[in-house]
């Protein structure tokens, strides 16, 4: 089946309170499910935070995860995304001696640009779909990146 162990993205809206994040991650680890990526931030002007969790699992597993998340007392809402806009960010550091104009051109194709230039290094930023971030990082390999950091994904239902 193609639906088995597919990548899935869920959003969880929780009350901002101590240890709510560990409640959620415990629920995954306690059942042996993996979290591929996790992004958390407060929702502006509310007492809630939004978590975006990317994970792998079958339909059945996702149904259980969703129900179990819902059982946690501070959880307001859980939904699995089907038709979503999903973005992830990456920062990459290069030596200033690399071909910066090439790098900049590629960055632009991925909604990005050079965001910092120091004496010996530059940092670029891109924000795009996770799959495209993969591609971007692949194509950056030939410019000898010194450091790479990726954020988790964030998603909104269309």
């Amino acid at each position: 089946m193609t639906t088995d162990n597919a990548r899935r993205v869920i959003s969880v809206i929780v009350v901002n309170e101590a240890s709510v994040l560990s409640r959620i991650t415990d629920l995954f680890s306690g059942r042996g499910y993996n979290i591929t990526s996790l992004t958390v931030a407060p929702i502006p002007d509310t007492k809630y935070s939004r978590l975006t969790i990317a994970t792998l699992g079958s339909v059945k597993i996702m149904e259980q995860i969703t129900k179990q998340l819902h059982k946690l007392i501070p959880v307001l809402r859980v939904y699995e995304h089907e038709d979503m806009v999903e973005k992830e960010m990456a920062l990459v550091k290069f030596d200033i001696t690399e071909n910066l104009s090439d790098i900049n051109t590629i960055c632009e194709a991925y909604n990005g640009k050079i965001v910092n230039a120091g004496e010996s290094t530059v940092i670029v930023m891109v924000a795009d779909e996770p799959k495209r971030i993969d591609n971007f990082l692949n194509s950056m390999k030939r410019y000898n990146p010194k450091e790479i950091v990726r954020s988790g994904a964030v998603a909104l239902e269309r």
Binding site: S19, R23, D26, G30, K67, H70, K71, I73, P74, L76
Partner: protein, 565 residues
Amino acid sequence: MQISGAQMVIEALIAEGVDTVFGYPGGAIMNVYDEIYKQDGFQHILTRHEQAAVHAAEGYSKASGKVGVAMITSGPGFTNAVTGLADAYMDSIPLVVISGQVPMSLIGTDAFQEIDAVGISRSCTKHNYLVTDAKDLPRVLKEAFYIAASGRPGPVHVDIPKDVTAQIEEFNYDIELDLETYKPNVKGNPRQIKKAMEAIAEAKRPLFYLGGGIINSNAAYEVRDLIHKTQIPAVETFMARGTLSHDDKYLIGMLGMHGSYASNMAMSETDLIIALGARFDDRVTGKLSEFAKNAGVIHVDIDPASISKLVNADYPIVGDVKNVVNEMLAQADSIDGSRYESWRETIENFNALHPLTFHEDSERIKPQWVIQRVGEILGDDANISTDVGQHQMWSAQFYPFTRPRQFISSGGLGTMGFGFPAAMGVKSASPEKVSVNFTGDGSILMNVQELMTAVEKKLPVINIILNNNFLGMVRQWQTLFYDKRHSETDLSMQPDFVKLAEAFGGVGYRVTTKEEFDAALKDAVEKNVVAFIDVVVERFENVLPMVPAGGSLFNMMLLEKKEDK
């Protein structure tokens, strides 16, 4: 009113109507204990181990239907209590467990008796709190009681640092709870209920599958009405024993690993399962792929996560069993119970083929006989708790239960050492009934120190030790599945249980004949004392019938017929 955090705990417990608290003091909780000393709103029962305090609170809750309360100190006090929390979590028992914690200034420094209590309890509680400011205490305690008792019940843990119990703040318990993220769905969707009733009316071989959720939601008498009205036969899970009286003509028996042949066959042949507050536990279903293959499933449960977790529900109904059953009752006129006549006959034939029984022995007392005998003598007058092992399964099979909350046992976790402290809790909640604990020679030693609590607090629990000189249940599996290699299950080395009971101020009886047993039980009941009745029983008796783990329900190991022997 300006009072300390410790006083707030007392005031809140009294406001919640708590009459009994089980616990054990220590440094971090001393402020609260100092207030316990000064008050007379509730009694405190000092157990001799924190695990026992929580089990006693469970027993109290199970017998009374109220929230049980236990109080413990930080560090080792808390870690000792974890097994109790896990036990209550697995069996959905509403508890509030309050623990002391080192002062806020020391949290995170590996202070003396510091442990991350909420970190540990997170996976075995319905919810937990670390209270960092006494201003939050009234709300937290109010929420704790509400969350423990509502929805699918469970234990809630409240960890309070020592300086928070000393902090003086305004106390007002008259709070409206505002839990917008926690709203259990108790009602049951009317359209789904209607569809379920239509399915029942059309089924040829419907079967009620009754689970512990019925007891938790106090729905047993409504369920009885529904069954009598529809004339549909019923099987009970271990946790649901007592939902129907043992002599109810629609009760087939217990199902599952040690269920009756007729129950498991009925489950295998039914065309419509009506599951009420039952969760399709693996000890009940056996091999899932062969479980009730041709049956549709109506599944009523307060916990949406339990529905379609293991067995797909055709008619999922999320709601409190009591509400849903009342709704079903209102529509039950449409069901003509005579339709199921031949189905009931089929089940009677199953039962006649392999009734639940055992072979008497002229030499030795059979453990099943003891349980039956207590049933004959005490019957409805006793509340029954058990430890874990063969004696537990025989109790569920052979005791003639007549009412819900009569049978109290550790189902989900299967905790040896549960029985005796739980029985003390049962006795404190229900003093008018005799409190009997069926236990094994292994299990009883796991909380034997509670003899002191029971004697001191005059909680006359009668512990009936079915003494087979073995960790019997493990021995049974070794006999059947490990070629009789009885690795580390021989308990030939034993204390003198009579002297042991006497050493604590209780009464002990050693029993080797049926006459002696009757006399001992009579004496213990009359004297109304804490008792050990140490019954020497057949060592190698097995619990039968049995579905080997992972096997299919209809493939049972059965008791050999006497003539086959």
